[in-house]
């Protein structure tokens, strides 16, 4: 009992630190990569190659004055950043990030919680994440925040449906809601090859869910200043920021687990499997940056039309075909 508790605690700390480090360095990588796309250099002065920039940013955010505007609904205004940060970090708990390693003669599975409804758990936690956006927009009492939050929540609700259906077809193929079983099922054939349509739908919806370019209408700088977190400053703003990046990491990790065979790759030692997992997640994160640097923003009606009239029918059709195929084979 005690042993399990200690092992779990270490794993939780490890995953939490890894996630936050990934978020922090994602900001640096993003600025450097986007700068390269625009033939600039990006931040290079803090530390070698700008490697200490995230630390500097964090210091700045912590020591900045925390301004609470006069017209806000104080309690809800304070809760909203927490509601962004906590679900974003919780959903990583069910994702298997490696096979298993042996330390001091004990075999340790590299997943925090091996739930048999893991897929649903991720969806449950993501659906809670919408509240931070709605509440921050409403409690700020500012038109930019409210417009941004209404756009964002409408977008998240619309794209969640197609995303769910894309995942359903993967679940149909592998026959389980447990993410470990889904990974094991891809031993011979990754789902990206057997479910290409679902993969593309999941990818598009994932980008829309995390409010990233080209679906970053909620934060469209030219129209909305910054969207739902316009009125936030210092670490409260920082929490929204970290939450957004943690969500990106989670969506990338989910895409890796569901479609790219999770931690599988050549070689079967535990450390190597963690490396493969990290590499695949990084590929998706790089794709995010690539899209951000090269695509213009959607218009709102285009976004809604695309979500409801293209993606949703396609996702339903894909589920139908997959179900028929599974039934026949």
């Amino acid at each position: 009992m005690l042993e399990i508790a200690i092992i779990s605690t270490i794993k939780v700390i490890f995953v939490f630190v890894a996630l936050l480090t990934a978020c922090a360095y994602m900001t640096l990588i993003e600025r450097r990569v986007v700068a390269r796309f625009q033939t600039r250099l990006g931040p290079i002065y803090a530390g070698p190659n700008g490697l200490l920039q995230p630390v500097a940013d964090l210091m700045k955010l912590i020591f900045k004055e925390d301004i609470i505007p006069e017209h806000v609904d104080k309690k809800i205004y304070t809760i909203a950043p927490l509601a962004a940060f906590i679900p974003a970090t919780l959903s990583i708990a069910v994702i298997p990030f490696g096979s298993s390693i042996t330390i001091f003669g004990r075999e340790i599975n590299l997943v925090l919680s091996d739930l048999n409804v893991g897929v649903l758990y991720v969806f449950a936690i993501t659906s809670i994440g919408v509240y931070s956006i709605i509440l921050s927009g409403w409690s700020s009492n500012s038109k930019y925040s409210l417009l941004g939050s209404i756009r964002s929540s409408a977008q998240m609700i619309s794209y969640e449906v197609s995303m769910g259906l894309a995942v359903v077809s993967v679940v149909l193929v592998s026959g389980s809601l447990n993410l470990n079983v889904i990974v094991a099922h891809q031993e011979n054939l990754w789902h990206i090859f057997s479910q290409p349509v679902a993969f593309i739908i999941f990818l598009i919806c994932g980008i829309a869910e995390t409010n990233r370019a080209p679906f970053d209408l909620p934060e469209a700088e030219s129209e909305l200043v910054a969207g739902y977190h316009t009125e936030y400053s210092a670490m409260k703003f920082g929490m929204f920021f970290v939450g957004e990046y943690a969500n990106m990491v989670t969506v990338s990790a989910m895409a890796t687990t569901l479609f790219l065979g999770g931690w599988q790759g050549p070689g079967d030692s535990g450390i190597l499997s963690m490396f493969w997992f990290g590499l695949k997640v990084f590929l998706f994160l790089f794709l995010y940056l690539w899209l951000r640097a090269t695509t213009p923003r959607f218009r709102y009606d285009q976004l809604m039309n695309f979500g409801w009239k293209v993606l949703l029918p396609l996702a339903i059709l894909n589920v139908l075909v997959t179900a028929a195929a599974v039934l026949i084979i």
Binding site: V117, L120, F123, A124, S127, S153
Partner: protein, 169 residues
């Protein structure tokens, strides 16, 4: 440990439920209702009904309460908007129905306590995905399909009403 979790989440659920009806700000009420739902989901997990717990969060805390919040936000409802209680009978009727409800609860709970042994046997592997699906698609397939028709009717109704309003403008 189990008792600690049980009493903590039960306490949170009850306190939040009380705060839902005592708050003046409807948005605060919604937040407390969400917290009550989450606390309830923890109770389901303790009954090893993980699937039911997750559904509780996805459907109630995740979907329905978002709609609540949307309506409250977009109409910008405050307590004053509802006005004073209009009908003189209203106060009396609430009291009568309140008493009836409490009586009903007491009867049901009393009956449940006397049969409490049956709960333990059901709890062992009750409510996982396979079981729910098997029951849903065999014994209850007709009510299940009926519900989906009801939902489609509601969706079409909403679209028709929304369209008509837009045309009048």
């Amino acid at each position: 440990m189990e008792y600690v979790i049980f009493f903590a989440s039960a306490f949170v659920a009850i306190v939040c439920a009380l705060l839902v009806i005592s708050q003046k700000n409807p948005v605060a009420s919604v937040i407390f209702l969400i917290m009550a739902f989450v606390a309830q989901a923890i109770l389901y997990i303790q009954l090893s009904a993980l699937f039911v717990a997750i559904l509780q969060i996805v459907v109630y805390a995740g979907a329905i309460m978002v709609l609540f919040l949307f309506v409250i936000m977009l109409l910008n409802l405050r307590r004053d908007d509802f006005g004073p209680e209009k009908h003189p009978l209203q106060g009396w009727l609430t009291r009568i129905f309140g008493v009836v409800l409490v009586a009903e609860l007491i009867i049901v709970i009393a009956r449940g306590v006397s049969q409490s042994e049956s709960v333990d046997t059901a709890a062992s592997d009750f409510g996982n995905v396979e079981q729910v699906a098997t029951i849903l698609f065999t014994r209850y397939v007709f009510p299940f399909e009926l519900t989906s028709i009801l939902l489609i009717v509601a969706i079409i109704g909403a679209v028709v009403l929304g369209k008509r309003r837009a045309e009048e403008k």
